[in-house]
Symmetry: C2
Subunit: 120 residues, 2 copies
DNA sequence: GAATGAATTTAGAATGATTCTAATTTTTGA
DNA sequence: TCAAAAATTAGAATCATTCTAAATTCATTC
């Protein structure tokens, strides 16, 4: 765990929002001005493989990085674009039961209009 | 509905597999040799918007096109890469109930080892 | 059947996120 | 202190997809 890797991990962990590599790069530059995009990608990739953060793919967008590594789902607001974590307790087991196969991972992205946007 | 658009729709409908734009392009050339990649993308995009086919995004792969437009899920084999349709009856309603929000769409990709690969 | 305008198709350039490469810098530990 | 290993870097490469602007096809009207 190098200094820059630790910095990137901190940045992902600091906020509950799901940042893109670009956003993380800009934040990282404030604390480590010479850092390069390659280092950001290298380390975010490594951290994801090590299971310390989680890479989130959302159709048509740059990948995002999530501090929450436990299995969970995502809700994406059609209006404001906000990405919110959802936790469906026991979902993996339910999937396994319904499928009858061993599951290594899954990805569930739900879209709709969030409560805040529905009000306005 | 132009001839080429109809051809592309046919190609997607012909086989149960989920083809990429590239694969569809190669098949289309057999029946319409001068067809261009741009036409393939234009028409597959249009057909998807019209709801006649469905565009499927799988992390790290080129998009695929699915003849099945009803809401359903996908199982991707970690070993052979096969993409299989899953039908979880009432899943949209279950999601809506658990979330308490109106859902416009969702995407569920499940990964694991398919039965065929487990045997070998 | 020719003329007109709209829609489709086309080749190739542009895009943009990500990965790769090869060189440089930093770190480690003998 | 030195050598080897690891991390970092700039920039090139990749690749699916979209965009652009020109060419072609199509439908409609006279």
């Amino acid at each position: 765990m190098t200094k820059k890797k630790a910095l990137l991990l901190d940045l992902v962990r600091e906020k509950p929002v799901h940042l893109t590599a670009e956003q993380i790069f800009l934040l990282a530059k404030e604390r480590s001005p010479g850092i390069s995009m390659a280092t950001v990608y290298n380390n975010l990739g490594a951290l994801s493989h090590e299971g310390l953060i989680r890479r989130v793919h959302i159709d048509g967008q740059a990948d995002r990085y999530d501090r929450t590594v436990e299995p969970h789902e995502h809700f994406i607001c059609d209006e404001c674009g906000e990405i919110r974590d959802i936790f469906f307790h026991g979902f993996t087991e339910e999937l396994a039961k319904r499928l009858g196969e061993r599951i290594s991972s899954y990805e569930l992205n739900v879209r709709g209009v969030c409560a805040a946007c529905q009000r306005s």
